[in-house]
Symmetry: C2
Subunit: 345 residues, 2 copies
Amino acid sequence: MRVSLKDVAERAGVSVKTVSNVVNDYPHVTPAMRARVQSAIDELGYRPNLTARHLRKGRTGIIGLAVPELGNSYFAELAGAVIDAAAQHEYTVLLDHTQGQREQEILVCQGFRARVMDGLILSPLELETEDLAARRDDVPLVLLGERRYDLPYDHIVIDNIAAARAAVRHLLALGRRRIAFLGARRDHSHQPAHLRFIGWQAELAASGVAVDDRLVATTSGWGHEDGARAMAALLDSGERPDGVFAYNDLVALGAMRVMFERGLRVPEDIAVVGFDDVTESRYAAVTLTTVSPDKEAIARLAVESVVGRLKGDQNHEAPRAARLLQPGFTLVERESTLGRRPHSF
Amino acid sequence: MRVSLKDVAERAGVSVKTVSNVVNDYPHVTPAMRARVQSAIDELGYRPNLTARHLRKGRTGIIGLAVPELGNSYFAELAGAVIDAAAQHEYTVLLDHTQGQREQEILVCQGFRARVMDGLILSPLELETEDLAARRDDVPLVLLGERRYDLPYDHIVIDNIAAARAAVRHLLALGRRRIAFLGARRDHSHQPAHLRFIGWQAELAASGVAVDDRLVATTSGWGHEDGARAMAALLDSGERPDGVFAYNDLVALGAMRVMFERGLRVPEDIAVVGFDDVTESRYAAVTLTTVSPDKEAIARLAVESVVGRLKGDQNHEAPRAARLLQPGFTLVERESTLGRRPHSF
DNA sequence: CACATCTTGTATAACGTTGGAAACAAGGGC
DNA sequence: GCCCTTGTTTCCAACGTTATACAAGATGTG
């Protein structure tokens, strides 16, 4: 049987509220009284019932974090960072994964998967603007990741176009001219349509290199398997790229596996750049050059954004305008793009 | 402003409890009444306040899961499986990570990190029996993973000794005789002391192969980096193993990276076997032979164990005795051990 | 037709906590 | 000795839900 404030109060011979005051470090409690109550607390092993506290206070101290897939190390590493950042603000994290499915993302952002959260950090893949616009739930929501929505929610994301351009520029600087893009996703109009793809396109165009659609490989997901399949299909179609920019590291590594199988050397035959800088990339047989987003900053900004809104709500402030926050990134050069280059990046 | 049962009740002109009955599908409600209340619910967009429900019912519907490190794909993948398994029982998962630090593991199992959980699944690394014995918290606890405690808690774990022996047997069958163990952990008496190590030792002994301490490399953690460092140290010491059994896949892959750097071929010069079967192992330049625990089974059993105890508590049943549950495993053979073998495994 | 039985809805009291108001001391100035 | 101030503790009412006990109406039975 759990011990409550009432039990402690009886034991110490004081009122329930006094015990509560001690527990909450309310300043106007005499040291003598504090000691007396504290010893009763210790003797009985009292632990506050958070649920009751939550009910009373109207908040739970729980932030939800929904990512597509924990099996993708990027999200796993990010989740770890979010948990730590949340702990700094005395919040705990309820983690969910959506498998990158629109249905699940809708459920999550509507709060149907877990309705205990004070705030929600969502990294959407398939969610559409209309889904988000139809959102009924009133818990603060912060968006992570590459997709853009024109809606009043804070959005934390690195400059994907700039990052992609830096990656492609790096490949161009190596003298590569047939640079494939692996991991395009198609929108309703069947055009590849995400920022990393746009960056690839833009940088090629800016450098006067022809943008060749045959070098664009679409995938259904963004894991090793998808990268491997895409690369195999590309090579089977007779294309022979000398550079590959992949949507993320997993796609890049999956693609590299296929290159090894077919006797293609990295970077001699094909130079490869990924995106995310997952740990795995630093230990591959050929280590992977990649765009490294500042995960800690992303996590910190996301948590601060949610927590900031919660504080605002609490103080009955007028809601802040939605912000676009852009943490930094770096291009980490590793073996997959080693080689003589005309000039340094 | 959130809408409560009371608001709905006023709108529908019925009592609060009747609305509650409708919400909870209480059987004795006339269809007419149900419809009337339901439409009031829909009009106002009522959503039950879970915190209040939790307070009243004495449970939260949240299970805690604490793993050492989300950056290790094994735990990330396992966490994903646990989330799914918990969802089947209408539980949500609060995820925490302990960095494999004893202090943090103690905090978690004492319930200090998050006191909202009905039950807890913990995968300990450094936690000692005495820490666990000193546990005050009364929420059901289930243990995962290799460490063994002689305490009345359900424990879900594959047969690590048998699995390790199968791995080593596989290497022996390839004709390897100098088989290193990478990733030993040392206990207080400074002896490597975990089941995978014991399995390695046992299988060597059973096959009449000398157990050579110089082939045992201890590490501080179990990531890529630790594997790389351990392998480098082993090679630097002048040892030249022809087989490596690693504590887990990350250690194996980190070690393989070092082998590549030093021009050692896998499997020709050194055959390698890992443990965990993380996705990464299937796409490495040399794919990794590994012990594949049934993660879904582990997750399912863990959740069922916790949920079962919760149900038991609710029905005031006498607590079940602690159980040791052993899901299955398979040895997945890949390129890192390919080669002619005297007989099939 | 009175009485028991079953069905459906209602009033009220919890669950454990905290915020605010009220009550009570103690001390100081007049 | 009285009033006022200041500081400390207590009392009461919430927070939103569900369980229990009960009332009221409907149905069946002798």
